[in-house]
């Protein structure tokens, strides 16, 4: 979603680069520049639209008190409509959900679930009720004809519009504040109970241990829980995690592997791919990724790979395909509409269409499998190559186009759906293969950035998981090796015991913090033990922030989302009756909330829009069906990029992980709210400006 910084602008760029460029309407050499200029032009037009819409802003300087007067009345109306009942309903609902659903979990998970229920409940109820009120704000004034009396006063339409948004936003703010205080109070109570219970249990364990009744020392985790509780907003420093897969040191250079079942991704960069359209020799990709498995399987399992094909100049030209490798690790893929990725000559006008360089991404979802990655320098060892169909256009490439050598492996991709990754311990299946290493890099780390204790140590927090494939009885242990990049010959080595889903604390000497990057390598110390970790599993401890401040930030994001929906509702109500305005607002919210889903659907469905599969001999009904589907999907795709993107607002993203929300994240959310609200209000004002009030 990185390219979608603002829907209409990005869509324009797509139209220019993908559509106009395809038919040669824009010269290939200028395509990139023209598409950027077009996008900038659309951006300027949007700004101009906002400025034209708000050209009465100058007068608003004296009218802000009038807008606030309208806002006060809107707030009073909302209050007299018993908006406070939302608070009661929310409290009742979340308490019922909390006491029925949250049972039998550990303290941290319990808190996480409580927070999720409380915050998500706020989002649902606030958006629902204030969205309805916003849609009814102006239509109800029109129905009750109070707009006639108000409109006869010296008030502009802009003040009227802003006043409604202000008033309902104030109502939202009051509700959010009330809900925040309640959430904080509830969490504090639960936290106090958890601390008390942990303290009692720890004291009991300690007493038993001291009196030699119990032979196991008291759990340090309980003492930590009793002291600090679970309401935390940690500011721990996070590094960059890399897991390179297994590395075979037998070859020179060391042979790299792509790790199955992980989010590791292999990226091959291709230059422009030439092709001609000959049915007997279609353009295609050939993969050679020999697999091997660390796990002993009763039934041989097929190894599959997920391939993503992207035209670098046009992110919308993407394809996704699942391929099954044969025993030698070979697979062939012929993309269904290769004109998006291979250059071709348009038979109608003889113009050359060239989509430019492409990227092939490969992931392997089969856990326990490893794919040997060739270096791409020779056709024989290339992991991925493309069949070249046009030797005349690119002399020297008679049969294949090879990607650039040394494909990039992304060790740990940030993904919403796959947050945990495993590193394999030593195995009996492949004797010569060492355990995998997860490497966390903290760049340019100074001693002043982390607190140093009296012994000259700083603290590393590790939150790890464990997966035992065999050797179940052995205690879970991991080997930590830490060193500064400028001084790699003096690493510090520690053997730690891994406790699943509990923070393990490790002390390291501050001498490692010399201003260069700090590397902390982690590997399993027990054969058969695979360690699970996430991108934020290894962090450097820093003083935490107050929980209430972190909660306030989350509440602010809920407020921003509500203000955006209020703006959409009020703007829709300027020219529509309230039921239709409500429908429009709901559709806007729905489309804005499923951006990611539409992206995925577009990728999958677009494979069905075959340029070739239907062929020239397909029935006209098939062509018509294809056309209708194409138009519908593209319209939907366009719409989701034009409406505000609600997926940006995620109030639970940090707080449920006990992490303090960075100010930058909050700032971006505020900025996005302004960016989305301004055009919405501008549109509403343009619609209301010349409208008759009576």
């Amino acid at each position: 979603m990185g390219w979608n910084w603002f829907g209409p602008v990005a869509t324009t760029r797509w139209v220019f680069s993908a559509k106009l460029g395809r038919y040669g309407l824009v010269p290939q050499q200028h395509l990139g520049l023209v598409s950027i200029l077009a996008a900038v032009l659309v951006g300027v037009l949007i700004l101009a639209f906002i400025l034209v819409a708000f050209r009465d802003l100058g007068r608003l300087r004296t009218g802000i008190s009038r807008a606030w007067a309208i806002g006060r009345t809107a707030f009073t109306e909302a209050w007299s409509a018993r908006i406070w009942a939302i608070y009661i309903i929310w409290l009742g609902l979340v308490l019922i959900l909390a006491f029925t659903m949250v049972r039998g979990y550990g303290p941290a998970d319990e808190m996480r679930m409580y927070l999720t229920i409380f915050l998500r409940g706020q989002v649902v109820l606030l958006l629902l009720y204030l969205g309805i009120l916003a849609c009814m704000a102006l239509p109800r004034e029109r129905e009750r004809r109070t707009l006639i009396t108000t409109g006869s006063k010296p008030i502009s339409r802009l003040e009227l519009l802003l006043g409604k948004v202000l008033g309902l936003s104030t109502a939202a703010l009051v509700l959010v504040l009330a809900m925040m205080v309640t959430t904080w109070g509830f969490m504090t109570l639960v936290n106090a109970k958890i601390r008390h219970d942990a303290g009692v249990l720890y004291a009991m364990q300690k007493r038993s241990y001291d009196q030699l009744v119990r032979h196991v020392p008291p759990e340090p985790g309980l003492r930590y829980l009793a002291r600090h509780g679970v309401l935390q907003a940690s500011n721990n420093l996070r590094g960059r995690l890399r897991i390179a897969g297994l590395i075979s040191y037998a070859t020179n250079p060391p042979q790299r592997e792509l790790k199955g079942g992980s989010a590791e991704k292999l990226l091959f960069q291709f230059p422009s791919l030439p092709a001609t359209w000959q049915p007997q020799a279609p353009p295609l990709f050939i993969f050679h990724l020999p697999p091997f498995s660390l796990l002993k399987r009763q039934v041989p399992k097929k190894t599959i790979i997920h391939v993503t094909l992207t035209a670098n100049d046009n992110p919308l030209h993407r394809k996704h395909k699942v391929l099954t490798l044969n025993a030698d690790g070979d697979a062939v893929w012929q993309p269904s509409n290769p004109y998006k990725f291979f250059s071709f000559v348009d038979p109608r006008n003889g113009r050359v269409y060239d989509p430019g360089p492409v990227t092939v991404g490969v992931t392997c979802p089969t856990l326990g499998d490893y794919l040997l990655v060739g270096n791409g320098r020779t056709a024989a060892s290339a992991a991925c190559k493309a069949w070249n169909m046009d030797p005349n256009r690119v002399p020297g490439h008679l049969s294949f186009v090879l990607p650039q050598p040394d494909p990039r492996i992304f060790g740990f991709m940030k993904s919403k759906h796959q947050t945990w990754q495993e590193i394999a311990g030593a195995t009996t299946a492949q004797k010569n293969i060492p355990p995998e290493v997860a490497s966390m890099e903290f760049r340019h780390l100074q001693a002043s950035q982390v607190p140093i204790d009296h012994d000259g140590n700083f603290t590393v927090d590790l939150l790890l998981g464990v997966n035992k494939h065999f050797n179940e009885a052995a205690p879970a242990k991991a080997l930590i090796r830490a060193y500064a990049v400028d001084n790699p010959r003096h690493p510090v080595q520690r053997l730690i015991r891994v406790e699943e889903k509990h923070v393990t604390t490790l002390k390291l000497p501050a001498t490692l913090l010399d201003g260069s990057s700090l590397i902390i390598n982690l590997q399993s110390a027990v054969p058969g033990l695979w360690i699970k970790l996430r991108s934020n599993s290894i962090t450097l401890a820093r003083p935490p922030s107050p929980f209430i401040a972190n909660l306030g930030k989350s509440e602010l994001i809920i407020f921003c989302e509500t203000v955006l929906l209020i703006s959409i509702g009020v703007a829709a109500g300027t020219c529509l009756g309230w039921p239709v305005a409500l429908l429009v607002t709901a559709v806007c919210y729905l489309l804005g909330s499923i951006l990611e889903f539409i992206h995925r659907m577009f990728d999958q469905i677009s494979q069905g829009f075959s340029f070739f599969h239907g062929g020239e001999h397909a029935a006209w009904s098939a062509h018509l069906g294809w056309l209708i589907r194409a138009v519908m999907v593209r319209t939907l795709y366009f719409l989701v990029h034009v409406v505000p993107d609600f997926t940006r607002f995620d109030p639970t993203r940090f707080i449920v992980q006990s992490v303090n929300m960075p100010w930058a994240f909050l700032g971006w959310n505020l900025l996005w709210t302004v960016i989305f609200v301004l055009p919405t209000l501008a549109l509403g004002y343009l619609l209301l400006r010349r409208q008759e009030l009576a």
Binding site: R66, W68, A69, T73, T76, I148, T149, I155, S156, E692
Partner: protein, 292 residues
Amino acid sequence: MVAPAQAIQTRQLTKIYPGFWKSQKVPALLQLNLQVQQGEIFGLLGPNGSGKTTTIKLLLGLINPTAGEAQVMGRPAGDQETRRRIGYLPEESYLYRFLNARQTLDFYGRLFNMNRVQRRRAVDYYLDFVGLDPAVRGRRIGTYSKGQTRRVALAQALLNNPDLIIMDEPTSGLDPVGILEIKNMILRLKQAGKTVLLSTHQLADVEDVCDRLVILYRGRVEMSGALSDLLERRDVFQLEARQVSPELQERLVALTRESGATDVQIIRPRARLEDLFKRLVDAKRQTERAGK
């Protein structure tokens, strides 16, 4: 002699409401030429659907004209600054039911950018002025009687001390005492130099207070002019006197007939029911006050 400034001037003002798709358009006002002098009370008469309210909405800029133009206090109709000098009383009291009388006037005071002190003074003054019972001022307007709501609506129209007051059916929903008070108030406004545009069905109201009037029918002007010119019967003579004996009456009739006059008759004038009702209610109120 300098001609008085125009408070309202319209030129070929036309409003045709568009129909849905190709259905018939509705002509509400056709080529209205109107001139209202500053400081006069001008009556806008006509049956239902004649275009009175449409004219007012056009003057306030609440709706847009199809053709023609209108100027109010020397500026285009609907101008935001002009609306500072206008007070408008709609035909129904379109007020927020969830606010009380004080909050309502405070809200409209804010729209005129009045400060807190000005608002407080104006609210108290005009609520007293329209005679709203102090006991109900803190109650929500939704609980008011029609007459009480009307008084609040009237107060909001006067709140900004306007130069031009546009009143659409000002007496609707009021009791006879209230009607009389409104009429007296309109006359007092005239004395204060204000211009009043009065739109009503109540012909008696117009007759009592208006200087000039226009009669509309189906959006067109049917008649206009000064009230005295329009209503004066120049061929009829009326003599009014008290304590005239029957003999003298007969002699007067005979004398009149002998002089060639026709349709001679003696009419005993009756007191107006409005005056009678007011006297009665005033007397009862005084008794109640004395009792308290």
